[in-house]
Assembly symmetry: C2
Homo-oligomer: 259 residues x 2
Amino acid sequence: MQEITNIVIIGTGNVANQLAFALHSKAVNIRQIFGRNAERAKSLADKINTEFCCDIREIDKTADAYFFCIADKAVSEILSQTDFTDHLLLHLSGTLNIEVFTGYSENYGVFYPLQTFTADTVVEFSDIPVCIEANKASNINKIKDLAGKLSKDIREVNSEQRSVIHVAAVFSCNFSNYFYTIAEKILDDHNLDFEILRPLIKETAAKVMGHSPSLVQTGPAKRNDERIISEHLKTLEEYPGFEILYKLISKDIQDHYNK
Amino acid sequence: MQEITNIVIIGTGNVANQLAFALHSKAVNIRQIFGRNAERAKSLADKINTEFCCDIREIDKTADAYFFCIADKAVSEILSQTDFTDHLLLHLSGTLNIEVFTGYSENYGVFYPLQTFTADTVVEFSDIPVCIEANKASNINKIKDLAGKLSKDIREVNSEQRSVIHVAAVFSCNFSNYFYTIAEKILDDHNLDFEILRPLIKETAAKVMGHSPSLVQTGPAKRNDERIISEHLKTLEEYPGFEILYKLISKDIQDHYNK
């Protein structure tokens, strides 16, 4: 098996940044960063001591693998404008089908790190599950080998399963964070500090590290405490959107635990 | 100021257990556990080497303070059946107004530890914010003194503020945990292991320890990615309840970030 020893990163967003840092720290040769925004491309390239380009025609065509760290809809755009011959093409999307690469190369796959990436938080890659998929066994092995340098948790997952995982991730990560934001808004409006919730948020996540979440549910809806639920709904009267969510979710929890 | 040196705990649930362990570990004398269920009362009392009783008439009337670790609606029930003369009465509820004690004692207050308690997880009390309130200054001082033995984060909060904090806690803790449960259900149904989400859940909570949640939101709704949102809604067609939540929350996030 020919190892992936040098790569090009297409994209300059949060995922591109985190992947670039992680690969660079494992001495993988990142030949080039491509990004349409020169400033962002240069900034990332500088951080890992490499080249950058902003013109799609200048993408280095001799790398072993190309990581598409860009919005799903931009992947086809780039593909249709470039000839990658038969180099290994990889995307990092939770939802995009592997077959987006069909016809553009004989070698392609998916490298989906299941984590939430924001610009200013450097994540420890070694614990991040990486879901991989490829169009053939030789490519799976190459991807597995590279992913193994970053993480100890590599899983072969097909496109349909990956999409299900992505939906589950939206609930447990994106929506949870939005609920933290709702909490912060309500507290702010009453001159209370979000700080007070931090130990609770930490413990809520910590508890499901060793337990099934369905076994550690707490709160008024779980206890079927209608009095508290209606007091809370009164507090939420000034927030019609939050009130609807509170009602719906409490009802679901009550149905789940008290049927 | 006369210190609280010995107490009675009314209740045998998760909160009663955690409070009893925490106070016992700080050498506070817990004179008695009261609970209608003899088995549960004995079990808790045995763990901390103390007495228990199941008959409300046998509650020890000579303690410095009485902790009502019971459902909100049970508090008035107990009060109406017992004469606590003017001993210090405290409840641990997020929502119950302090005035529930009016007429039953000249000394009362609230001791609300903001944390999620489940039976088999012993929590580290020292980081838990304890919201306290009392009917007079001398009682606030007593409560502050006792709370300070357990936690380094004691906050004076009135009943209205406490109720707001409780609503915020429901969103960030109870509802987040329910969303972990939704994620687990979806994964289970597709023969995928909840384990894969744990690093993501951990990181999602860890990120808001140092940031405002509104600044670290990620995901398709934040990016206004309608294509992914509609793919996810397709995946959720078999779960009408989850589909409604996904739609509503995504819409809220889109409105919040993309207006």
